[in-house]
């Protein structure tokens, strides 16, 4: 509700089992908790798509295709060059996957958001809690990914750990606008379109598998416009221990702009749908 900007009411409910509860201290964490309870039941099913698949890609492309690329890329073996790209593109896939059907379902099928909006949560809490969960999914997936690729010896610098905040920001940069998108479409077939015309071209052309310099000028500009390329460049600089092609601050600001713009848009669409 537009006028809901009063201070958060904090009540000590622990003092008595019968005390009247008012609101959660940080309402978005209560929302995050809900998703984590669900995650406890479903994480096994997600392991394949979010973790095994990229590992298989590392093996297939990195070792398989890499064997044919004798001179490597930019003076490093293809596997080492590819891994940071896959870190970023995996983060993108997880963030997109978790902000399409789940968001759509929370409006249309299970109607979780409606259940939540009847509780003392604001639209911003409902949105922030779900975004936090997407962030959790991105970070756990990438942490596991780093572990495995580290064991392969594909991470060349301790700076590799810096990929975690980078993918977190990338996750928000793609999830927030996607939340807005998934909240506004009327049929779930629009969600598949996002993968067909967004994720796949982005993954192919944003510097994951080959340098964007190989692209013709027009396509290259398009690649620079994607949030993915900015994360790829940062991740690659981190795992290889070199300077990124762009300024770090420029990359981060660009991603932050997507995240912030997306979050504001998503809040507007959520409010329009939930508060009518």
């Amino acid at each position: 509700m537009d006028g809901e900007s009063g201070a958060v009411i904090v009540v000590d409910v622990a003092s008595s089992a019968r005390a009247r509860p008012t609101r959660s201290r940080v309402p978005a964490f209560a929302v995050l908790h809900y998703y984590l309870v669900g995650y406890r039941r479903t994480w096994r099913a997600g392991v394949f798509s979010s973790f095994l698949l990229p590992v298989l890609t590392v093996l297939g492309f990195g070792l398989g295709v890499g064997a044919y690329i004798d001179q490597g890329v930019d003076g490093v073996p293809y596997l080492d060059w590819l891994v940071p790209g896959l870190i970023a593109s995996t983060a993108l896939q997880v963030a997109l996957g978790d902000s399409t059907w789940p968001v759509f379902s929370n409006f249309q099928w299970v109607k979780t958001y409606y259940a939540q909006s009847a509780a003392p949560l604001r639209v911003g809490d409902i949105l922030a809690g779900h975004l936090l969960y997407v962030l959790f999914r991105v970070l756990t997936t990438i942490a596991a990914f780093l572990l495995v690729t580290g064991l392969f010896g594909a991470l060349r610098s301790p700076w590799a750990l810096a990929t975690l905040p980078v993918v977190a920001l990338l996750g928000l940069a793609v999830a927030a606008p996607t939340f807005a998108y998934s909240a506004s479409v009327s049929s779930d077939s629009w969600l598949a379109m996002l993968f067909r015309f967004g994720v796949i071209p982005m993954t192919l052309f944003a510097g994951v598998f080959f340098p964007v310099e190989s692209l013709p000028e027009g396509l290259r500009q398009l690649a620079y416009a994607t949030p993915l390329w900015h994360a790829v460049d940062l991740c690659r600089a981190a795992t290889l221990g070199v300077a990124p092609q762009w300024s770090v601050a420029g990359h981060l600001l660009y991603l932050a702009a997507w995240a912030l713009g997306g979050a504001l848009l998503a809040r507007r669409v959520f409010r329009r749908t939930l508060v009518v």
């Binding site: 509860p21 809900y34 979780t112």
Partner: protein
Amino acid sequence: MTTVQPLIRARGLVKRFGDFTAVDGIDVEVLPGEAFGFLGPNGAGKSSTMRMIGCISPPSGGELRILGMDPVRDGPAIRARLGVCPQLDNLDPELTVQENLTTYARYFGIPRRVARERARELLDFVQLTERADSKVEPLSGGMKRRLTIARALVNEPEIVLLDEPTTGLDPQARHLVWERLFRLKQQGVTLVLTTHYMDEAEQLCDRLVVMDGGRIVAEGSPRALIERYSTREVVELRFAAESQEAFAGKLDGLGERVEVLPDRVLLYVADGDAAVAEVQALGLTPANVLVRRSSLEDVFLHLTGRTLVE
């Protein structure tokens, strides 16, 4: 004289969706401990009213105070003290019965330990203890409804809002829900419910308003409404012929009022058996005769000229 502050107070309350006016200036007061009903057919504006009371739908006009607060400004603070059972269950089918309660309790800032304890009590109350650890998905409609009611009680609300609490349930499941709601009422919880079932309204409501086309057309206790707008008894006559109309004309002067429905004729009288004798004395031979007491259905029919459930 002491005046009891109403928990819900609406004055000229309006809800518009574009050009369509769903709620057209209603005045309502709900007192503590009352079971208050909104009775009306689909599209009467009941659910829109409930959503405004539930502080998820800002009023388009008029005044609304819930627990003395403004629903637009104090939405979260009011919702912290409400329990809401929506028309369509929005439980999480992937979580267990108990998890549905404990995760929801978190939204109210209820600590884990207290939430677990309360979930146990509530599952006992709605007779779902044995299903505590099973997923929600395979539960029957009646069980899901009871779980939704339990979820609405997780914060020990002062007002429980129930939007069509038994729509879509089989008779046995309905009675079980009614019985639980009646228990809540006895415990002093204020209930506000919408329904298009007259028997539900009669069973549960101390006081109700009859809504039609976004307006309130009558208000009072079920008994008072029946006394004011209907006769003591009703004779339902079904004639075998295509048109009931032809026979209805011959019944003029019999009883206080005659209503002609597509499949039957209703005769509003003080004494049903006497009226049946008079019908037979006229030489009419209906295929089916039923004498019954007046209900809220008759009140609605009288006030709007339409039946509640089409």
